[in-house]
């Protein structure tokens, strides 16, 4: 009714203006219902935004998020004390449905509707990048992890000298993974012929790149890569690749493969008589369930290791050691620990460390100031944005190499660290063994 009145009564007002007024009225109404309880509440509130791929193909990552949020809510149920003031803590976690567009949408919601003070996000560039971009556009501080730093930095248009203003990231990079793989292979006796499996997706193209990817880096250390070319994900047949690898007499397999494709490849390789001495692949064997899917054929597959219960670090939030955190996760979820568990926890460690050091929680600039000065020890190792990592905004965490060992006890498979040349403070649990 009011709308029509505006239109007919004042013909000079354009349709757009009328819509803006209308939206303003609705917005004000919504805002008043949201802020009403806050006014009534005695304490002030801090809102932490969190985006997590709870459904869709990336959902296995989010299991660690749910557990971490549960731990944080328990720890801060009586509020967080900053200076002399106690703040009520509200963590608002929204589902990205494993879709980058949706991730951007819910991030915008968190910023504009829920008015979060700080954002945290993890779990692959598909989640961290759109959320980071929204924060950058809306001047909201954001802490992220669980995505190699190159796709996080360069894909978002980061310029080396300049970096970003509002978004800060901690994780390792592709140079670390290459170093770890090479160190593991060097400890075996092979002919240095490497089979490369690179799909036609963001990761596959980055890893397989002839100039910046694995092939030139491996060539420097005397390894030759046989790369038959990019294939489509969810392929049902790898006979062509296997034939090419057999022809080149490859003894090592590497690549960045999604779990179903690696299973298909690995089974077909056995069926067609291709038996390499080492297989170090990213993505495919991150979660224990993916390795279990291979039956006994997963024994001694190797991968990069970012976090295990035997890492020598401690939580700054709960005081738990890595082993204790993993045990708590297993008790609560009835699942074997996985590498994201440590990082999902560390993300909140950083957020609360930052908030604790913030002078004025109501000001985004003030929170940002605290983020920039972050220098702390977390359950995944030191996080330090003061010294400007490889680039401003990036702090690198240590990476080592490990092998899955078939043990068939409480866990079907254990991830054993076999090479720590890149981070000697993380203890090894065994020696690199060739595949059977």
């Amino acid at each position: 009714m009011t709308d029509r009145k505006t239109k007919s009564g004042a013909p000079t007002i354009s349709r757009r203006r009328a819509l803006q007024v209308g939206a303003g009225v609705v917005g004000a109404a919504a805002a008043s219902t949201v802020s009403a309880p806050a006014v009534l509440a005695a304490t002030k509130k801090i809102r932490i935004g969190h985006v997590s791929p709870r459904t869709g193909p990336l959902a296995p990552f989010a299991v660690a998020d749910t557990f971490a949020i549960g731990q944080v809510r328990e720890k801060y149920k009586n509020g967080l004390k900053i200076g002399n003031e106690t703040y009520e803590v509200e963590i608002i976690s929204k589902d990205s449905q494993s879709n980058p567009n949706r991730a951007a949408e819910v991030a915008a919601d968190l910023i504009l509707k829920d008015k979060v003070n700080i954002m945290c996000v993890g779990n692959t560039p598909e989640t961290t990048n759109p959320v980071g971009d929204q924060c950058e556009a809306n001047d909201v501080p954001c802490v992220s992890s669980l995505a190699p730093w190159q796709p996080w930095f360069f894909t978002r248009g980061g310029k080396p000298g300049q970096g970003f203003k509002w978004t800060y990231h901690f994780f390792w990079g592709l140079e670390d993974i290459i170093g770890v793989f090479l160190n593991m292979w060097d400890s075996l006796d092979t002919n240095k012929q490497v089979a490369g499996l690179f799909p036609n997706d963001g990761d596959g193209n980055a890893w397989g790149d002839k100039k910046l990817g694995l092939p030139p880096a491996l060539a420097k250390r005397g390894y030759t890569v046989t790369d038959p070319g990019r294939y489509q994900n969810l392929s049902d047949d790898f006979s062509a690749q296997i034939a090419a690898f057999k022809k080149a007499n490859c003894e090592i397999v590497t690549g960045v493969v999604i779990p179903p494709d690696f299973t298909t490849f690995w089974k077909q390789a056995r069926q067609q008589g291709f038996r390499p001495k080492a297989a170090s692949v990213g993505k495919a064997i991150l979660f224990p369930t993916s390795v279990e899917a291979l039956g006994k054929d997963g024994h001694n597959l190797s991968s990069e290791v970012w976090w295990t219960p035997s890492h020598p670090f401690k939580s700054s939030m709960t005081g738990q050691s890595c082993a204790e955190l993993a045990a708590a996760f297993e008790a609560s979820t009835k699942r074997q620990w996985s590498q994201p568990v440590g990082f999902a926890h560390a993300l909140f460690e950083v957020v609360f460390d930052v908030l604790g050091r913030t002078k004025d929680v109501g000001s985004n600039e003030s929170i940002l100031e605290a983020i920039v000065k972050t220098k702390m020890d977390t359950i995944v190792g030191p996080v330090d944005w003061t010294k400007g990592g490889p680039f401003k905004n990036v702090s690198k965490t240590p990476l080592v190499g490990g092998q899955w060992r078939f043990v068939d006890k409480k866990h079907k498979y254990d991830l054993v660290i076999v090479n720590n040349k890149t981070a000697p403070n993380i203890p090894v649990g065994g020696k690199m063994e060739p595949l059977g």
Partner: protein, 288 residues
């Protein structure tokens, strides 16, 4: 010799595609229903087999004894309870309903089984292989899949042309109104067709689950090849569907042999060429 190997692997891959496609071909043939949820139903069968295999400690191939009847029943109920209501002159409602069903199934599976990648563990048979001539080895499992596809299609062919039920299927397909005048209950016949279709889907799901990992989101990816196999072979023709699957499999293998980037593209190109040369597929069933 390597090209012979490529073609053989392609033919075996075609068996898998044909198995995915047979159920789709069957219901399209009988009631002109395009089931967008077909791929997701394959995944439902894989998860059902997983639940039975882990619950009773059974070998995945033995779970077929339980999963096939289960999916048969599900098919009957699904058609009778939901899809029959959408059938009519307009082909859009069943399409939309099965599309919605696809989303419901994916999220339902996610709730129950989580997003974890699963696999049916069949032991040594997974990696066993047979040496055939010239140093070419083929996996036992792909051979079983291919043989299963041929047997299923032969069996359905017998069902269609040698039994009363088959006559009823063909009669309702040709002219549903006259079939009803002859005392055939269309609703029942359609429900049985969907039931048979899902029984085949059960077999496809179990073999897929033994072959590779599955999770609630992989269904739609399986639908595309099934569609192409059906259309290459000619709508409504079961042997045509097998031929379609094999053509698709061989085209993909040859493409991959040239460059793995061409694998999927080569299949699509073969599909397009056949659409241009024979717009109604290789072996279309009479005039629709």
């Amino acid at each position: 010799m390597q090209w012979v190997d490529t073609v053989i692997q392609g033919v075996l891959l075609g068996g898998l595609y044909a198995l995915f496609a047979t159920g789709l071909s069957l219901i399209f043939g009988v009631m002109r229903l395009v089931n967008i949820a077909h791929g997701d139903l394959i995944v439902v069968a894989s998860f059902a087999a997983l639940a039975v295999a882990e619950g009773f400690g059974m070998h995945p191939l033995i779970t077929l004894l339980a999963v096939v009847p289960l999916m048969f029943g599900l098919g009957y109920v699904l058609q009778r309870g939901i899809l029959n209501l959408t059938l009519g002159k307009d082909i859009l409602p069943p399409l939309l309903v099965t599309f919605g069903l696809s989303i419901i199934i994916q999220n339902g599976l996610l709730e129950v089984f989580t997003a974890d990648s699963q696999k049916l563990k069949a032991g040594a048979i997974e990696t066993m292989s047979l040496q055939i001539f010239g140093g070419i080895s083929v996996g036992v499992l792909p051979v079983i899949t291919f043989v299963a596809a041929v047997l299923v299609i032969a069996g359905l062919q017998l069902l269609f042309f040698r039994t009363m039920l088959g006559s009823a299927f063909r009669a309702t397909s040709d002219d549903p109104d006259t079939a009803r005048l002859m005392g055939i209950d269309n609703r029942h016949v359609f429900a049985l067709a969907m039931a048979v279709s899902l029984a085949v889907v059960a077999l496809a799901g179990v073999l897929l689950g033994v072959r590779t990992n599955f999770d609630p989101s992989i269904g739609p990816g399986r639908l595309l090849y099934a569609f192409e196999a059906v259309i290459i072979g000619g709508l409504g023709s079961l042997w045509g569907t097998l031929a379609g699957g094999v053509i698709l499999g061989v085209a993909q293998s040859i493409g991959a042999r040239i460059d793995p980037g061409l694998q999927i593209l080569a299949g699509h190109i073969a599909f397009l060429i056949i659409l241009i040369v024979r717009p109604r597929g290789l072996f279309p069933r009479a005039v629709d």
